[in-house]
Symmetry: D2
Subunit: 343 residues, 4 copies
């Protein structure tokens, strides 16, 4: 850990960026050398997030790709989709490695992306190379990746629960239903009546009921595991809390399969994974237990009379669902202990 | 409305009782004549609920069935299951009508009840007579009922969304999945670490994942409509808010059926129902919009690629899910306008 | 109550307006005939506040003073200060009575207003006539008033606790300190990062630490009672809740005065006031107990070793602090029972 | 940092203990060797706090002072007052150093303690030796202390704001008023109706209005600085949030003193203190900015027309107000960098 890897963050002033700054500030291997924000250029980062006064005295700078790339070994982009795919190729061209938070490089199949995001992909040649940054499934590829696409929050939460069963054909690919709830930080740091305290407190509601983009991300990653197609029903909800995510997932279980088989699948995949905790039989995850952490808590229930399994998976949408999973991937990319900065 | 119907409440000091007192206090047809509480006997009701100071000056009395029944035309029981079924037959024997909040009289099939509640029913002879107090489906029977069983909160919320489709065979009875979230008042007024502010705020979690009693209540009522059996997967969750409930329900739609067909079913059943609001196409219910009311907000979405409908139904668990639905039933029982005391 | 008083609301779509619509909809004496909103003209009120679907089917109209005044007996204005004072004189000129929610007509001394609000008053000739709409102190004047200025939320909360002691010279006018906390609805319905759920939940903070406008309003009203000047220290805070307000007030007590004297002052002023509840000795108010009501809960503590009294006063900032106090005043203006629509 | 200081925690399963475990687990100098809990003896700590699964696999043990003292260099006691003072002398007798969280060793004057806590002190001979664990004022004494009394949360929050002004005679000792609000974790981890989610959410209330024990603690520590007596009015409140504390403090300022003088006092005392942040002029602290940290944010306002200063001080009640301040003191006691484990 004598090295000091220099990292820049573009789009630093959203909640994802702030959480990255917090985590990287206590990391012994990374040094933040650049915080880029168009809207807050020239302003001290700690003036935007006063919680970080004393932790960082960096000043936000406007986007200058030459400056960023010459001062960084790796750049984390936390930009809107469509914008990322304009900036990332230029950064790669300068020789820096990139970890991107948008949806732009999460897909192998460009047409699925273009349908989901309703725009033409400006850099489709990078899709084959980009690595989906879910360490539990793509650790080896992340190590050497030039470009890591940090997974979406709902996909991270859902895939950690679904993949062990899906890849072993323990569940019917046509039966998958995900009912998930997220804390309000998932909507980002922006002023919008819908996310005002008085509108969002004491309120529980679904949104994007049948068309959320993360549906196709989950489907594609599952299919990449086994070649089997799946069409998922996915309903995101907003829960009145700042952080946290729970996915409650329903799946018809393959015949002959019981709770033990299901739990074994998780044990095999996760017994050596520090950040995935398979809960004891009968215990359910609680978002409060993963808040501010990179942990994912998983439980599985099986009901014989319906033949259906209920999978429960909980993460912090800004932790394992965004910034802290990014730090985990950065640790892998640069050879640090995977838990460095994360516990 | 010149009449003054005398009503007593047994088990008055829980959240259900307090909400009843609040609603009946502004009702022009009912007069509360008795508030029974074993634990708070002798104490002013407004000392337990200081919000009601100035609204009621009644003193809680211990349970004395003769006293209650001689001073009341109708008694509302808000007692634990197993206790209700001991008290209710005695009250009926005294000639008063009863509206009961427990699960004890909601079932026609005693064995389903006994399996779900894990006890022998002490008054099974009343099950045939008891009327399930969901006015939208049992209004005529409620009018003359001696004994009304107020529905459970999850069943009310789920059945309002499921019944119109189920009774028209528009959904596959083997495909029904309910993922529902309730505000914490659903757990009642009791001290328990799990419901402490610091444990429940910023927390979203499932509970009773495969064995919640309300599952069998929903199944039985659906089956009573059409004779068709159904086995439902039901997952209740606790959301960090005081009041409110949202059921997100998944169902495979019968072939040939589209969104229009589904919406028509609701329109037919609810166009004349004041308290059920079918939302405009594309709009989702929000628990905040039904808080402190007897309304139920319902939406339906259909996704062709999966052949599945997503039904959303929202109520206030203490409103349409308990006390205010009770007032609606009482209005029907005593010939008042159905909205009296409720808007 | 055979009369049907016609009321219009200008600036109807803020939280104050919505609360007025809710309360007036269940009032048996008033009929809302006009809901004016520049930003939402043409839109159904229940589309902005879906909670009110079924309760009101009114459509928002643009501001047309002739139309409003010809269709109303009284107009409630819920407009920003500076705007109210432009609109109100025109309305009065058309012969309608007005209840105004802004700060524009709460002062007798124009210069205090102009200093506090940093603008020149456009209708100073109305200040002498306008009645401060705190029924507990100005009931007789409200009855006949053409123009009622609904008090601010902090002034209502503070004055109800301070006035009985101040007017009896029981407290030192130079010693008054008010530390108050409000729910976030006090900031109004607007998108602003500061009031986003993720910024406001789990946050308690002071604002406008030494210069809040309500300071001068409280001072002026106190002085109008006795002629004695006072300079108050006032610190408002934002508490992470939707509604509710608590003022914790400190005052040096006049020599010889004890707790009994202090409590007697409240008893004398409020024993016949339905909406002011002097709590039993030793009990403290809780904002939860006045939420959604027009009640004010008041307590007084006295500590001999410091010679200081601590006054606690709690209201719902949208209830007694705004819309419901307005309804109380409207009841007085039009001869209805003072509690009509309010319990 | 090659040393591995062994630390035990007695009374480990409350919120203070859990926060200590979390902080010490990522500390590079301390190793937890003993977690004592009478109620949970034999149970894995991570079963009580599932958030810590993977972080600690320790099992709670019953109280065995010989075992604890032989396995530890220092013991942290998080016990009720009255119990601490029984256990601490025994621990000291065994040769371990002790950091105590109760009020038992915070006072020099036994009679003040006995009046405030209404019990006879069982170990008054230790009061002279015990060091008040506020590093910003007692750093040198903490270094060598055998017994450190961790300050109360309200005293920490208040004293950090008051002391710099008080010790320079810039404020009138007879004028001090503290209106403070705490998050609900301040009430500890226990089941009690008053702290249930449904009772505490959307609720803001004062408690212990004139007799909170922390009053005397603040007074004594101030007086120890200068010899000047003071009688403070202190009102604690409960705010609907999990963590965080804000003290809003009023003081009459000495004649001739202005805002610059006041700010200078803070600058002199705190410019080299990492954990105390004097905010820029005009900015107010927000509990959200210190949550989960050991920071204290301080602001001062001065109003010429009243001659009064308003001091604002914010901490996390479980951070600088309890467990993290304890870690800071432990760092000092054992020669670690003061920020180790805390950023």
């Amino acid at each position: 850990m004598s090295t000091n890897v220099k990292v820049g963050i573009i789009g630093a002033t959203g909640y994802v960026g702030a959480e990255l700054v917090r985590a990287l500030s206590r990391h012994r291997g990374f040094q933040i050398t650049s915080l880029v924000s168009q809207s807050y250029a020239g302003k001290a980062f700690a003036d935007i997030y006063p919680a970080l006064k004393g932790i960082t005295d960096m000043i936000c700078s406007p986007l200058d790709i030459d400056a960023v790339s010459s001062s960084c070994d790796v750049v984390v982009t936390a930009l809107p989709h469509g914008v990322s795919s304009e900036v990332v190729p230029v950064l790669l061209g300068k020789g820096v490695r990139v970890l991107d938070h948008s949806g732009d490089f999460r897909y192998k199949d460009r047409s699925i992306y273009e349908t989901a995001y309703k725009l033409k992909h400006p850099a489709p040649h990078l899709l084959a190379e980009a690595v989906y940054g879910l360490p539990e499934f793509y650790r080896e590829q992340i190590k050497e990746a030039r470009l890591v696409a940090n997974p979406g929050c709902y996909p991270t939460c859902s895939l950690l629960a679904l993949t062990p069963l899906f890849r072993r054909n323990l569940i019917d690919p046509d039966s998958l239903i995900i009912s998930a709830a997220s804390g309000i930080s998932g909507a980002g740091r922006k002023s919008d009546i819908a996310y005002q305290y008085c509108e969002a407190a004491e309120s529980f509601r679904a949104y994007s009921v049948t068309g959320h983009r993360h549906t196709s991300e989950i489907e594609e990653i599952l299919t990449l595991q086994t070649g089997v197609k799946t069409a998922i029903t996915f309903t995101p909800h907003l829960a009145p809390m700042k952080r946290g995510m729970l996915a409650t997932i329903y799946a018809d279980v393959s015949s002959g399969c019981d709770l033990k088989t299901l739990r074994n699948a998780y044990a095999e995949d996760y017994d050596n994974e520090f950040f995935v905790r398979l809960l004891p039989e009968g215990m359910s995850p609680d978002t409060a237990n993963v808040a501010f952490s990179n942990f994912a808590d998983i439980a599985v229930f099986f009901e014989e009379r319906t033949g259906r399994a209920t999978l429960l998976s909980s993460i912090d949408n800004l932790g394992k669902g965004a910034s802290l999973q990014a730090v985990q991937a950065l640790n892998i990319m640069f050879g640090f202990n995977e838990t460095e900065g994360l516990i």
